[in-house]
């Protein structure tokens, strides 16, 4: 386009130059004589009339027969008229033929004859419409020449421009294809983005609902932690009270163990006493035995004493048997007491362990109380954070909705862009077709311009 504009400007300048040249020629023409063709015919007619008028007088002066004078005058006048007519006709014919020849050559594209026509027109002292026609044809030829030169230059530039344009259009076509491909990819990406945004929106909604549910659970957990904390504190108090009571029970069991140990020691004294009793009963038995023997020696007089001694001996035997029974009972009692002592010792040991366990339990309950307090406190913090998370999730849902809306708009815009790109591709194709036509026209114009010979 820029080259075309430059060519038009150049053509305009050349035409102005021709116009200036014509003006200059007009100035030169002022120094010549201009006789229109009509005037020339009138002058010829006047010349013929003058010849017809003056020839008889001249013929009268000739020494010829009288009857010949009039025909001769007539003949001379006709001859003069023919000569003048022939002169004018030849002059006109020659100029018209030359102009016709130049016009024919111009019509054939030969613009080389305009210079001769111009020079002859300039060299002619008397000018008329034919000269003007020749000069106009020369001027037209020069203008046409200039125009053709400009046309050739323009065709050349046009060819270059068309080639560049074709190249640009081809690159544009390729670029358009790439743009179409990229636009399709963008459309697919926008569609996928819209789908992902939809999925993200659903996921964030689910997260928001989950955050809501978590907030509810955390609230329940916080309340449960408070209840647990209260119950644990009550449990710790109950355990402390139970420990105090258990301490009393421990003291009682320890006292029982001490009493059982003392009872065991006392029972240890009983066999010694029984040994003494056994010894006494055995000695009594022996004494009664010896008394019986001595009574036996006394004969009939000792029978009563023997009976008494026998009773004493039987009593000693009964005592001995009773001592054995008591010893057996004491042994069993001692075993039972030992079992009681062992049980009490074991119970005391277990109770010591239980006391330690209770102490540990109380410490653990204190720790649990502290921990549950911390848990309740942290649950409250978590509850606050969960509420904030819920709010953030709600805002995120709104943002995601906006993003989804933007994604939809982007998708619509992408669709429009894609359709525009498709239209652009169609336009590019049409442009390619136009460029091809332009190329053909350029070639034709080049061919046409080549027909002119400068």
């Amino acid at each position: 386009m820029e080259n075309t504009n430059d060519a038009n400007c150049q053509l305009t300048m050349d035409l102005k130059e021709n116009y200036n040249n014509q003006a200059l020629n007009n100035e030169r023409r002022d120094v010549t004589i201009r006789i229109p063709i009509g005037y020339k015919f009138i002058l010829g007619f006047i010349a013929v009339v003058a010849a017809a008028a003056f020839v008889p007088g001249l013929v009268e002066k000739l020494a010829i027969a009288e009857w010949m004078k009039q025909p001769l005058s007539f003949l001379i006048a006709i001859l003069i008229g023919l000569i003048l007519g022939s002169f004018f006709i030849r002059k006109f014919t020659r100029d018209f033929n030359r102009i016709t020849s130049v016009a024919g050559r111009i019509s054939k594209g030969d613009l080389t004859g305009s210079g001769e026509l111009e020079s002859e027109a300039r060299s002619s002292f008397i000018k008329d419409e034919i000269g003007d026609l020749a000069q106009a044809v020369a001027l037209m030829s020069a203008s046409l020449k200039t125009l053709v030169e400009q046309l050739k230059s323009t065709v050349s530039d046009l060819t270059d421009a068309q080639e560049s344009f074709s190249s640009v259009v081809s690159r544009g076509h390729e670029t358009s294809k790439e743009v179409i491909s990229g636009t399709s990819a963008i459309f697919d990406g926008a569609l996928e983005q819209a789908n992902h945004v939809g999925d993200a929106s659903s996921t964030v909604k689910a997260m928001a609902e989950l955050a809501d549910e978590v907030a509810g659970k955390v609230t329940e957990s916080a309340n449960a932690s408070q209840k647990v904390n209260t119950m644990v504190q009550r449990g710790a108090m109950a355990v402390t009270s139970a420990m105090e009571k258990m301490e009393t029970i421990f003291n009682g069991i320890e006292n029982t163990e001490s009493a059982a140990i003392r009872l065991k020691e006392k029972l240890g004294d009983i066999p010694r006493i029984l040994d003494v009793i056994t010894h006494i009963s055995r000695q009594t038995d022996l004494l009664a035995l010896n008394a019986t023997i001595e009574a036996s020696k006394a004969g009939e007089h000792g029978r009563g004493f023997a009976l008494v001694a026998e009773e004493v001996r039987r009593f000693a035997d009964n005592t001995n048997n009773s001592v054995e029974d008591v010893s057996f009972i004491v042994k069993e009692l001692r075993l039972e007491v030992e079992r009681v002592v062992a049980s009490a010792s074991e119970g005391t040991a277990n109770l010591k362990g239980g006391r330690d366990d209770l102490r540990k339990i109380r410490e653990i309950l204190v720790d649990i109380t502290n921990y549950t307090s911390e848990v309740a406190e942290k649950a409250s913090i978590i509850l606050g954070l969960t509420h904030k998370q819920k709010e953030k999730a709600g805002k995120t849902v709104e943002i995601i909705k906006q993003v989804a809306h933007i994604a939809k708009e982007n998708l619509s815009s992408t669709e429009r862009v894609e359709s525009a790109v498709e239209r652009h591709g169609t336009a590019i194709n049409e442009t390619i077709t136009a460029a091809e036509k332009l190329s053909e026209l350029s070639k034709e114009l080049k061919t046409v311009a080549a027909r002119f010979s400068l």
Binding site: L286, L289, N290, T292, I293, S296, K297
Partner: protein, 152 residues
């Protein structure tokens, strides 16, 4: 064969000693060692500040495997100034009165037995306590002679 009897209940059976020969019954936990003891002579005790040699009745009657005893009942026999302790271990002692014996006694003799009483439930051998005295004296004398022999 007449007179009241002191009945000794051993594992080998019941034996009887006339109460007239019995000076007394003592009980000791262990018998002091008697140097030069032999046969069924098992020790010596002090009875009423008098040393008395003790023989084991079960061993004298042929049982040389008596069970160990926690206490020893020793029946001290006295015969014309002589005393002999008869260790009956922990055997039970009872009396059989002369009226109860009646005509149940016989003269069946055995080793250190001089008769037998046939009771309603069992038989009771009567210990020939003089023979026991004599045998103990013989053993103690023989032992003493053995000790004195080479030098005397």
């Amino acid at each position: 064969m007449q007179g009241d009897k002191l009945i000794i209940g051993l594992d080998a059976g019941k034996f009887a000693i006339p109460t007239t020969a019995v000076a007394g019954v003592v009980e000791v936990e262990q018998l002091p060692f008697l140097p030069g003891r032999a046969g069924f002579v098992t020790g010596i005790i002090s009875f009423r500040n008098e040393p008395v040699a003790v023989v084991d009745l079960a061993m004298a009657l042929g049982d040389f495997s008596p069970a160990p005893r926690a206490t020893h009942k020793v029946i001290v026999l006295r015969d014309r100034g002589r005393a002999l302790g008869v260790d009956i271990g922990e055997a039970a002692l009872s009396f059989l009165w002369d009226e109860e014996i009646g005509g149940k006694a016989t003269d069946e003799k055995g080793l250190f037995t001089s008769g037998r009483i046939y009771g309603e439930e069992s038989t009771i051998d009567i210990i020939d306590w003089p023979a026991l005295f004599n045998e103990t004296s013989r053993m103690l004398t023989a032992e003493e002679n053995v000790k004195k022999g080479p030098h005397s």
